[in-house]
Structures are given as structure tokens and as C-alpha cells.
Symmetry: C2
Subunit: 244 residues, 2 copies
DNA sequence: CTTGACCTTGACGCAACGGCAGGGTTTCTA
DNA sequence: TAGAAACCCTGCCGTTGCGTCAAGGTCAAG
């Protein structure tokens, strides 16, 4: 048989068969004077075996092992291992689909895939055009994504979200956008912000050591000078009280 | 932030982030004078988004699409498509695992993964050292693998397997190993073989045209000259009666 | 003699990075 | 203050299982 014939017979492509030769899965067969490979029935049997094993999901080197020592014991061993692997993959897929369903159910219009806890929180937040509020939400989604945020943290934040006083605080922060760093409004605003944070929040944030040093710098760089000063003071207050 | 810091923050490797820059998923950030990349909080938010989307199973170009037009509509669309894909993969895995279980249940000692129908047939076959019988079994597994064999074919073969007369035929074929092509035993043996094939078998073999020309040649090459002559005659008889 | 259907080798492409080489920078420590 | 650890940089090869040209040789039929 020529390569095309055997390929059609066992249901493989000629390219696949040549590939098997190339990687040593199957030895190169005899050649006819013109260079064509000639295959025997035994080759077909071997290739059929290869095909079934690969269709089961074995890698080519595993197939090679199975073909090599045809004790039959190796086969069962590899197959059992394979089944465990497939089961794991299946479970993984299931987990992904669950999270997917969760996302589709929670935020039907959000352009951001967030955890259900945060989604519930944001859904209850009032609409606002405050840039500071937007920034805060971004930071929250970041925390959410890093896994640093938990359900208890969102529970602690829940009262803040519906508090109209918080909106006023955001607006006061917005107003400092173009202000100098010695603006007299900085001190009172920082105090008010510290006071507004509920007691439970500090415990809810996992205190896994100080955040990377560069992160705080990057965080402050997001704000105008006067605003950054406020943020700096608020953070300082919390570091005193027991970590970030 | 430097690249290592942001990588730790969002749970990626520095290598992955540089890869994202390389493929244009994320623009290259500002550099410090020493060449180090400096990341902002916004970058972290973006990367966190990328991480969650890739963890769901999206490819990088799909992620790029979702990030590009953040309408939120595209997201739902892609996610639905993804879910369908995942479901398909899950079903595929399930099918593979079923076949695996089937194999493990059927042939606990066979070094060959065959269909349950053939496995049952071979299990009932008597032990023999006849080379011809072994060859026949190989050819059967080949048919089995190509999918050309069906349950009805195995049903038609069932009586042959338990028939002790068949063993005698195999032995007569074995005896022709070193015989010349004009051996007088050839004719009678061919007739006996043709007679031994049950009526149902011909209908059970899917007559999808003549087999590849090279295949018959390869098949005959497996046998000694006198044996090949027998096989040739048997095949000829069946071709007359209605295809191979 | 020309198609058209085969066959040959060789090399690149893919998905999403991992790992290493070879070299510079920063920072901590003795 | 030197040395080492811990970062950072670019660039290139390796992974898996083939698909897909590219550029050509071979063979049967019209």
C-alpha cells in the first residue's frame, strides 16, 4: 500500500502518518525504487491502534510507551491514569461553566466580570458622575479580582453604598482636583473619610503584610496633588490603627 | 509599580505580562530611565480583567475583542459562545471516558483496545498457536478499528469461532507455508474455506466499493506463495458472489 | 503530451506562555 | 563599602500534533 491508501484505510491523514515516522512512533517502512513508502497490513494494524489510543486522548509518547512493552499491564495503567486526568479536566470545565453562568446571571449589562458579591454591591450603588467614585469602584474591582476581597468585606461596605453622605464626600474629593497641596480643605476631608469607614471593614481586609511598596506610589499617582494628600492621610490613619 | 509587583498583585507571571505586551493585548507602559516598565493602577485593573477572562477559557484575541469595545454586549455574546464551546468539550470528554470504561471493563488483559463486540468474540475463541489464525485476528482488529465492522458482522462470525472445524482449516493453511504455488492441496482448501463462511457474513460486510488496490496486494504479501494463492481464490469467489 | 492525482522533503505556523542565556540595576547585608 | 541577592531587560528556543504551503518527482489515463 502507498501512504494515501493506508491513511484512508485507518482514517488518518498522510501528514499524520509521516509525522509519526518523524517522531519515531512508527519506523519508516520500506521504499519502492521511486522513493514511495510501502506499507504492510501489519503497519495498518499498528496505525489503527495508534489512532484509537490518540482518540482516547493519549499523547504520542504515551502511545509509544504502550506500543513498546505490549504487556497489556502498561496499557491498563496508562488508561487509569488517563481517566483520572480526564475526570479532572471535566471537573475543571464544570467549574468554569459554573462561574460563567454566575457571571451571566449576575451582571447582565456590566462590561466587567466581577464576583457576585461585588456585583450585588455595585448594583445597589447610586449613579454618579464623580470621578473619585469611579476610581474607587475600579479599585474595588481590582481587589475583587485579586481575591483579596471577601463576602464579609462587601457586607461591611453595604451600608456605605446606600449612604448619601458618601456621595458628598466623593464630591468634596473631586473639588480638590486643581487645588494646591496646602489647601485648607484637605485636613477636614481626610478626617471625615476616616470617620466614615465602618469599624468592620478593617477586620475584613486580609492583613497580609504591607502591599507592595510600588503599589501605594502608583495609587497616589492616580490623583491630583491635593487629592493624593488626602488619600495619603487616610492611609496613614489606618496604618496606625492596624495595617493598611 | 514595576512588573514583578503588578504581576504579584494580579496573580500573573512577569513573563505572561510581557507576552501580553508583545501580542498587543496591552500597550507597553512608560519606562523609567533605566528601562524598567512602570505600571499604573489602571494597568492592574486591566490585567485583572484579562486574567479573569483567560481563566474562563477565552483566547487572547477574544479577550482583546472584549476589552476593545467595552459595550458589554460583546461580552455576553462571547461568553455565550464560550459556554457552548465548553459544553461541547465536556460532552467530548464524557464520550472518551465512556469508551475508556468500556475498554477497561471488556478486555482486562488484552493489550489491544478493541470494540466490545470484537472483544466478546475473541474471548470465546479457543487458544491456538496457528499463525494463520493469529493473522486473521489481526485483520479482524483492523476491520474493527476502521469501523467497517459492525455488531451484525460479529454475530455472523460467532458460530465460526466455536466451531472446531475452523481450527482444522487454519492448520491446513499453515501447512502450506513452504509449499509451491502448484500444490494440489490449494484447490480443496480454498473450496472448504469458501464453504465455511456463513451466509450472513457477506451481507454484514459493508460493500463500500472495492478496497484500495494496494491493500489486496499488501494482504497477499503477508502470506507464503501457496497460502497467498488460497487467499486469492477465496477472495475471487466472493468478488463473483457480490463484492469483497 | 498533457492533465490530474499521487508521492517526496523541508520548513513555517499555531496558543500561551516557560525557560534560559547574557547582561544591567537596585537594594539589602556583612 | 563591597558583595550577594533579587530584580529588571531583550531575545530566542521548546512545547503538542499535526495543517499548510512550497517546489518538485512519478505514474496512469485520455
Amino acid at each position: 500500500m502507498r501512504i494515501g491508501e493506508i491513511a484512508a484505510l485507518v482514517g488518518l491523514t498522510t501528514r499524520a502518518i509521516r509525522h509519526y515516522h518523524h517522531v519515531g512512533l512508527l519506523p519508516e517502512p520500506e521504499r519502492r525504487p521511486n522513493g514511495y513508502r510501502t506499507y504492510t497490513v501489519r503497519d495498518a494494524v499498528l496505525l489503527a491502534r495508534v489512532r484509537r489510543l490518540t482518540e482516547l486522548g493519549l499523547g504520542l509518547d504515551e502511545v509509544r510507551d504502550v506500543l513498546a512493552d505490549d504487556a497489556g499491564r502498561e496499557l491498563a495503567e496508562v488508561l487509569a491514569e488517563l481517566d483520572a486526568d480526564l475526570a479532572r479536566q471535566q471537573a475543571e470545565l464544570g467549574a468554569r461553566r459554573r462561574r460563567l453562568a454566575e457571571l451571566l446571571a449576575a451582571g447582565p449589562a456590566e462590561g466587567e466580570p466581577v464576583s457576585p458579591g461585588l456585583a450585588a454591591l455595585l448594583a445597589r450603588a447610586p449613579v454618579t458622575t464623580s470621578p473619585s467614585a469611579a476610581k474607587d469602584r475600579e479599585h474595588l474591582t481590582l481587589l475583587d479580582a485579586t481575591g483579596a476581597a471577601g463576602e464579609q468585606m462587601y457586607a461591611a461596605l453595604a451600608p456605605l453604598v446606600t449612604d448619601p453622605g458618601v456621595l458628598a464626600l466623593y464630591e468634596r474629593l473631586d473639588e480638590l482636583a486643581g487645588a494646591p497641596v496646602d489647601d485648607p480643605r484637605i485636613g477636614p476631608l481626610a478626617d471625615a473619610l476616616v470617620a466614615a469607614v465602618p469599624a468592620g471593614l478593617l477586620d475584613a481586609v486580609p492583613a497580609d503584610g504591607p502591599v507592595a511598596p510600588g503599589f501605594q506610589e502608583a495609587l497616589l499617582a492616580e490623583y491630583a496633588p491635593a487629592q493624593a494628600e488626602v488619600v495619603r492621610r487616610v492611609m496613614a490613619a489606618f496604618v496606625e490603627g492596624g495595617r493598611t
